[in-house]
């Protein structure tokens, strides 16, 4: 069994009367790539801050490398925050040099995919290269655990592929990775997913585990705006995929009843991860 690098047990957090995390369990083991999913405000960033020791939970237990979050434990973490945490008025090389010094001078060989022009100010790099630099800074000291908060947000498809290649590579080499993302395509790259809704853990497992037998109703029709209006009037939410509609929940009878007389053809299909996510997060 792989070593547990980070774990939360029954972690809750409250701001005044508002509960942002409610008895959440989370575990990241060596060599494991864990995706943390949730809509905005679900509590992902709060959970990450608690895991890193930047926030003390109202209740529950947190362990990082077998101990409570501490300066020593954080020394083994590579963190890419949402805001990237780069010094925009330092060059790429100066940013990396500072990170190296802060982590005690250790310096790992950088993957080619993380190469950035060394003499350009970080603030003048395009967003894709800034993300690459933030990655390079996080990877610089060969951490045992990577915490990546929406690491590919705003990055084009090609650059995203390269970054995910690096992420997969470090997990395969034995490091643990905890990554938050809004992209279900990226989430499917993870070994295991943890879904949060309103601070509560609603699903956990592989993408296939989470989708399970969940189905959606597909609606094929010539006039999709009309079909959409009819479905919404019947209290059914639908998403447009290509030129057909997909209704989460798999209630074929209800959809057919709503669409009677419109000429639309309704059938069942296996839900995608995104559809299952919507179903879980919107109840």
């Amino acid at each position: 069994m792989s070593e547990v690098l980070a774990g939360c047990l029954g972690v809750s957090h409250r701001y005044g009367d508002s509960t942002v995390l409610d008895a959440v369990d989370l575990q990241v083991s060596a060599g494991e790539l864990v995706g943390l999913l949730g809509a905005n405000g679900a509590g992902k960033t709060t959970l990450i801050r608690i895991l890193l020791g930047l926030l003390v939970p109202s209740s529950g237990h947190v362990r990082l490398f077998g101990e409570a979050p501490s300066r020593r434990a954080r020394g083994r973490i590579g963190y890419v925050p949402q805001g990237l945490g780069l010094y925009e008025d330092l060059t790429a090389a100066e940013n990396l040099e500072f990170t190296r010094a802060a982590f005690g001078g250790r310096w790992a060989v950088q993957p080619a995919a993380l190469t950035v022009p060394p003499d350009v100010l970080a603030g003048r790099l395009p967003l894709g290269l800034q993300r690459r630099l933030a990655f390079a800074a996080a990877f610089a000291h060969s951490p045992g655990l990577y915490v990546l908060d929406e690491p590919t947000s705003g990055v084009d498809a090609l650059a995203r592929t390269h970054l995910w290649d690096v992420i997969r590579g470090v997990a395969d080499s034995g490091a643990g990775v905890l990554v938050t993302t809004h992209s279900m395509e990226e989430a499917e790259e993870c070994d295991r997913l943890v879904m949060l809704t309103a601070g509560r853990l609603v699903a956990e497992g592989t993408a296939a585990d989470i989708i399970g037998d969940s189905e959606v109703v597909t609606v094929a029709c010539a006039d999709w705006p009309r079909a959409l209006a009819v479905l919404e009037n019947a209290g059914l939410r639908a998403a447009l995929v290509g030129r057909s509609l997909r209704v989460p929940g798999g209630d074929l009878v209800r959809v057919r009843a709503a669409l009677a007389g419109t000429g639309a053809i309704a059938g069942l299909a296996r839900a995608t991860l995104e559809e299952r996510f919507v179903e879980l997060t919107t109840g």
Partner: protein
């Protein structure tokens, strides 16, 4: 246009700091300029020494107020009393002559005393430490304090709050750095720049403006170090309660303005009513101005400046400790130790993870 006005008022109402500043600043300025901003010295403490001290003391007109009569003391004691800042005026009533010695480093008091003595027909008046009563001689030592205040408070608060705004402070919190290392590493460059500024101001003051430097450079440097700790600590404190650079500047200005106006740098503390003067005694620039003028103009040694040094030390310890705690609370949250302890207990009880 109406939509714009309504929008501005809505934003103004929600920006409570700006709103507070718009209300507090006029009140502050009203108090300062109404009560404190006065160059008129209405009361001048005077020490009378020499064999005829008692006799002369009785004849001194207003605005002089005799605080001590010392018949056994002579001119050298009188000079020492001025140098040590005991009083701004000493009358030396010897057997053969009466001489009034004025402390030229207290410009407005010396001017007021000289005018009053001229009206009374005083025989002999000598101005020590700033014989020509030049404004630049008094302003340059004070200006040094203002520059240290500006670099220490404004620039430091902007530097720290920028880290918060760009998210790099959070990155620092995740790095294996001790909070005190981050704190000291953050303020050290500002400290050095401010020290360089001080050197330039003092050198320019003495070389270009002929400001005397009678005292010990070491004593001035020690005072500057203490003062810088207070101002740098204030800068970090301001940044710890500011979400952006605009808020930091607002708060920094709210700490700068009272110091410039109420520290005795421009308006003499002696001219202010007691109700306003005590504010000046809470401000670090008051004490640094006393130290810089004392050292540069009067050549005052450390032993006679112990009071401003003591107050600066107390202010420094209080401000830096508070700033460190605020800084530490962000980098290593309060309760972390408690949580660690709880984690250890949970582990001991066999809990997961």
């Amino acid at each position: 246009m109406w939509a714009m006005i309504v929008k501005e008022f809505r934003q103004m109402r929600r920006d409570r700091r700006t709103l507070a500043m718009m209300i507090v600043m006029p009140v502050l300025l009203l108090i300062v300029f109404g009560y404190a901003a006065s160059f008129d010295v209405t009361s001048i403490p005077v020490r009378v020494v020499g064999v005829h001290a008692a006799e002369v003391a009785g004849r001194l007109p207003a605005p002089f107020e005799v605080t001590a009569i010392a018949s056994a003391e002579d001119r050298s004691d009188a000079t020492r009393a001025l140098r040590d800042g005991v009083v701004p005026v000493v009358v030396v009533a010897d057997a053969d002559a009466v001489t009034v010695l004025l402390d030229g480093s207290e410009l407005f008091t010396a001017n007021a005393a000289r005018a009053a003595l001229a009206r009374a027909g005083a025989p002999q008046v000598e101005v020590l430490f700033n014989p020509d009563l030049r404004t630049s001689a008094v302003m340059v030592p004070g200006l040094a304090g203002m520059i240290l205040l500006f670099v220490g408070t404004v620039i430091t608060s902007l530097g720290v709050v920028r880290e918060r705004q760009t998210g790099t402070l959070e990155q620092l919190a995740v790095m294996p750095l001790r909070p005190r290392d981050v704190f000291l590493g953050k303020i050290a460059p500002y400290f050095l720049v401010a020290a360089l500024d001080l050197t330039v101001v003092v050198a320019a003051g003495t070389l270009l403006f002929g400001v005397p430097f009678h005292g010990s450079l070491l004593v001035l440097a020690l005072g500057a170090v203490l003062f810088l700790f207070v101002t740098l600590g204030t800068g970090v404190l301001i940044s710890s309660v500011s979400q952006n650079q605009g808020q930091a500047i607002q708060l920094a200005m709210m700490t700068l303005l009272p110091q410039v106006l109420l520290s005795g740098l421009i308006f003499p503390l002696r001219s202010m009513p007691l109700g306003v003067r005590w504010i000046g005694y809470l401000l670090p620039l008051t004490y640094f101005t006393q130290i810089s003028r004392g050292v540069m103009l009067r050549g005052a040694p450390l032993t006679t400046l112990w009071q401003p040094f003591l107050y600066l030390t107390l202010l420094g310890v209080a401000v830096v400790t508070f700033a460190m705690l605020r800084f530490r609370a962000f980098l290593a949250p309060q309760g972390a130790r408690r949580a660690r302890r709880r984690g250890v207990l949970a582990l001991a009880a066999g809990s997961k993870p």
